[in-house]
Symmetry: D2
Subunit: 374 residues, 4 copies
């Protein structure tokens, strides 16, 4: 339900119009340095109102740690965190109250719970992801300290403008090897690190915004320095945990890892990643697998892409039925994100970190037994 | 690890070269008629050796219910099931023992566990899926009785030959509305229901087989008559559970639901599914959402596609390193599936049924409280 | 770890000296009326400083709902709650810092986590139970509305003074049938409803307090109107969930249900509870079973007792070793509870409610299938 | 439901009258030597028909490993195990079919599931514990290899005849330090290691048997060489996991650890266990705590006792109602255990091992991070 993970476990609470949103992160290793300063940067990257490409609701989104640290160190106990909601009562949404927004959660929420939240979609709110991003920042810090794990997501597609994400495109593979959050953010608010593509993508978003419409996009994420051995065979393969994590982000419609859908047309003789000795371990010369084989990380870069649909709330008039089933026209008031992928970047990074930190702790437990049994 | 689900819960055991493979299915509703005859058909559809398109290992794969039923009815207690392994000791694999097969689980398995299973990939074995298919058949029977839920998967792509899977292609939407398992199987062993496409796909597989190579493909699955309200907001959105389920199947590289990756280029004004009154409930006129909005089923058809890479084990010689890191050439002995997607069809159906049955029982619990509280 | 429950699920955070303590309650049925006024009374009953029998730290312990309700109704989404800590930095404890308190969590905490929390025992703090009591109040309200379930705990023993808790003592069985929270609290701060026993118990506590010592006691809890059918056979028998819940409360040393330890000496012919028709259902004429048979509630009163040891922190000098292993004498400064059982009463009630609400939702899911399958 | 544990996880299946009973044990460390010979001894100790004190159904209860081992070593993959049922159809029970047996699970089972199993209590069958004992034997072997953990249970009470189990009785503490399974079994079928007590207990059982009646008893269990640091604060305290494990065993009515219920009358100044340096770690001079403080193991012996009621199925005539609510007299046919505690000994040991192995793996994961973070 609202909990993710087995040993590194996050539970979130909150929706758009309540007092605060937040989370409890359980299983954080003790004795790790941690303050709000480690968490705020990703929350600020997630925040709306960062540029004219996103909604102007200027929430400050400042995080407050409630428990689990002392003198700047984690205690090993659960870390409670919260971010205040500033807009606790809906205004812009009120006129739309007769209509369930098409392709939004308004209708399914009311059918599932038998009650209508004033925010419409209830927990299917972008604000729910604040708790995830806060928790993910802790997971990420742990992975960085533990194995120098680097997680970088970026926008690889907006509308028709897409990078060539082929696992057989050497330039893309090189991009994955070198990209950093700094280069992603330096490229401007669209968070695509290829300048001419970034420019085109920005133009696309602006055009749809001008039409009171919206457009979707793709976020790609790479993880470097993942230790070999993460992921559990059968149901909890590492790619299955990542797919679960990604499709739990609002507005996602797809996930592909390594060669992905395009890879289905590459014959085995080209798709197989040959082994070669690298730094005392076997590595592979190509990486169509996306860093995972048989559900278990192989030490190569893990990379995957996530499809985000165009945002459902648009100001453009839409013919659709009211809750009562009467035909009508919905014109959503207020200002809405014409595109969510730049803001989705830190959310993808957070969910990646959460899935990996959990897998890491589970595998560490197993490895700890290697010298104990015979 | 080896358990999937919260209320409808399956736990599997077994790998290629042990005595049996099987599962325990916990949480099956009591008083449902159930015998081996309900389970065997899907196991037979999963079995290798059904045609020249798949590996000739002719395992009989007969299932034996051990517990949880009496006089042909479920007791509500866990259902133990097993299928004997006939080939308990590897032969064909022995010469390959020096090499970890590229893009197979051999290497990651040994790194994860610190021990080499004679089957190489250990649990990353196609035989592990037997327990899933057996459990899925029970889940499916329950969903059918409870809400007339219909789950049909089929091959929508092999290599370069793919159906137009666009959510905006009316023919594809109609196919999803009408397809049955009978029409899927009637189309021949490739399990693609469009005859000319099926013929091309078959040819592609045969060509790669002739070259001792392999090729990947895509399986699409549609679920009809899903009740409104399944799926939990936040981490356990219905699409997240389905993505988890699908990416846990061996050899999968991608998942997309509804409009999927292509949908990212459709603007909101076209992508949004307008509401309309249908049979006393709101329904939608289009279905780019794939039957899920805000993580919750909306009563429309759920459909999604799963990418399967080309099988890793090929007889064609491959330059790759030995476990010791020495360069060499691996020529896999034995006969291997040149393509897995037709056999993946019942596995996709099974995992779909398991994810849905669990979501269904969780939502039924919630609904049962609607008249209790005030 | 810090999460309890499957469908009705609480996760807590916080320790003695952090900003706040609190919890997230997931799975609360939607549309139930709920405000802070439903939760505060049990928190106030749990609060220290209610009488001269307990520690004078006068914390106000006011609860703030953060999410999951709107206009006084639950939304079905997670309910975040917090209570501020007023004493965020330890003072009284500072001089004791050289010594792990005997029979307290100071030493095991530091060994488990490799870090010393300034509060000593970290999460093994009585303040951690605030989140449980807040969550339990919600569970209790749900059970009351759903089935008129009544949960009443009381003090049945302090030191040598104990009620005759035998399942074959008709007076005790009658007490269980009639006792209410009002009669428990009316009996004075010791929360034993038998006046002369209450007086003796009070005297015992005062005597130990005067000696700077402490004493233990027993809390008995009865639950009336439990529906038949709660509890899962095998590992999650209802008594197993209750035992888990009770032994998770700080300072507990034992749990017994129905006839308990004394019942081991009653032969089957007297211990068995004969069936008789009651209000259209089978009931039993005696209740040695404590309302549960085969792990499943049978509709009779559930009752059990919980043993609480004497509090570990006492001002009386104790010969014990420092963290460094040097012999010395610890004299705990500050004022400490000489006895915890009166304050444990609402905690026992809360954990009981949490275990039952979860079992109830799980069974409701099963029952919802009875008319669906055939 | 039928699964216990987080990292070391067992799932069981089976009841009295199905083909087999068994389990899947997931999370067993790889590379540990394991064959049926490691498992059979405890199953044989659990088996009925070992002496005239127990039921004469002479089941052979031979265990067959299905998966997860190769060449006598664990693979790290799930271990499937099964034991065939020989008596698949009930006979003796048939005449009793009109009556739910008092204090047995017959009635609650039918109310919970809405179907009547021919065995009456369904999963509330002693045979369900076979899977637990098999799994426990693996857990125990792991703990023995990992930390030389020793788990020994024994009968400490039958009817009115009980050992003085006080935590302040030096003889009892010494018994806990020295007792072995060999000395337990050497004492005769009653499994009480004090000869004169064993004789009295045997006499008590024989007397009740002669009267077609039954009697209860107490099993005490000690665990030596438990590493410091096991158990999670808050809900999953080590004593809470043990209490859960013990109360999940059929026929149990109570659990107490360390000083237990009697300890509630010992003042803090005597109950607190003073620290002293022992072998480079702090230890305690007394052990009223039972080896756990604040929910975390402290390295001292863990010991606890479990109350078992008198068996519900007796041949002595009982006045009770039929399923239809008509008054009548039930005379159970067949031969039934007049007392279960000797056979419960290996079950208590198994559940102890399962709870500890899981806690151990969880703590090992945490400890593995100590040198990784800063």
């Amino acid at each position: 339900m609202s909990t993710f993970g087995t040993l590194f476990k996050v539970t979130t609470y909150g929706e758009s119009h309540c007092k605060s949103v937040g989370c409890i992160v359980d299983g954080v290793p003790p004795n790790m340095s941690l303050t709000e300063e480690d968490i705020q940067p990703q929350l600020s990257r997630r925040r709306p109102g960062q540029s004219k490409l996103s909604t102007p609701r200027n929430e400050k989104d400042r995080v407050y740690i409630q428990s689990g640290t002392e003198f700047g160190k984690t205690l090993g106990t659960p870390i409670g965190m919260l971010v205040l909601n500033e807009n606790q009562r809906p205004k812009d949404y009120s006129e739309m109250a007769k209509y369930p927004r098409p392709s939004h959660a308004d209708y399914t929420y009311i059918e599932k719970y038998g009650i209508k939240a004033s925010s419409g979609g209830g927990r299917a709110s972008a604000r729910e992801t604040i708790g995830r991003v806060a928790a993910g920042a802790i997971a990420e810090k742990f992975l960085k300290q533990a194995n120098n794990v680097e997680i970088v997501a970026f926008v690889s597609g907006v509308g028709e403008c897409q990078l060539d994400r082929s696992s057989q495109n050497p330039e893309f593979m090189e991009l994955l090897q070198n990209i950093t959050r700094e280069t992603v953010d330096a490229a401007g608010p669209i968070r695509c690190p290829i300048p001419d593509k970034a420019e085109k993508m920005t133009k696309i978003v602006e055009d749809y915004k001008a039409q009171n419409d919206s457009i979707g996009g793709i976020v790609t994420c790479v993880v470097r320095n993942v230790p070999i051995g993460l992921g559990e065979p059968a149901f909890d393969k590492l790619e299955a945990m990542l797919a679960h994590a990604m499709l739990s982000i609002p507005a996602t419609k797809g996930f592909e890892i390594g060669s992905g859908f395009a890879g289905t047309a590459i014959p085995g003789s080209k798709h197989n990643d040959p082994f070669i000795m690298k730094n005392g371990h076997l590595g592979t010369t190509t990486n169509n697998s996306g860093g995972i084989q048989g559900g278990i990380s192989n030490g190569e870069n893990i990379y995957f892409s996530v499809a985000f649909k165009s945002p459902a709330t648009i100001s453009k008039p839409q013919s659709t039925a009211t809750y009562d089933g009467k035909d009508g026209t919905l014109e959503a008031k207020g200002r809405h994100d014409p595109n969510v992928v730049p803001r989705a970047v830190p959310i993808v990074e957070a969910m990646t970190a959460l899935a990996l930190a959990d897998s890491y702790l589970i595998q560490k437990s197993r490895e700890s037994t290697f010298n104990l049994v015979h």
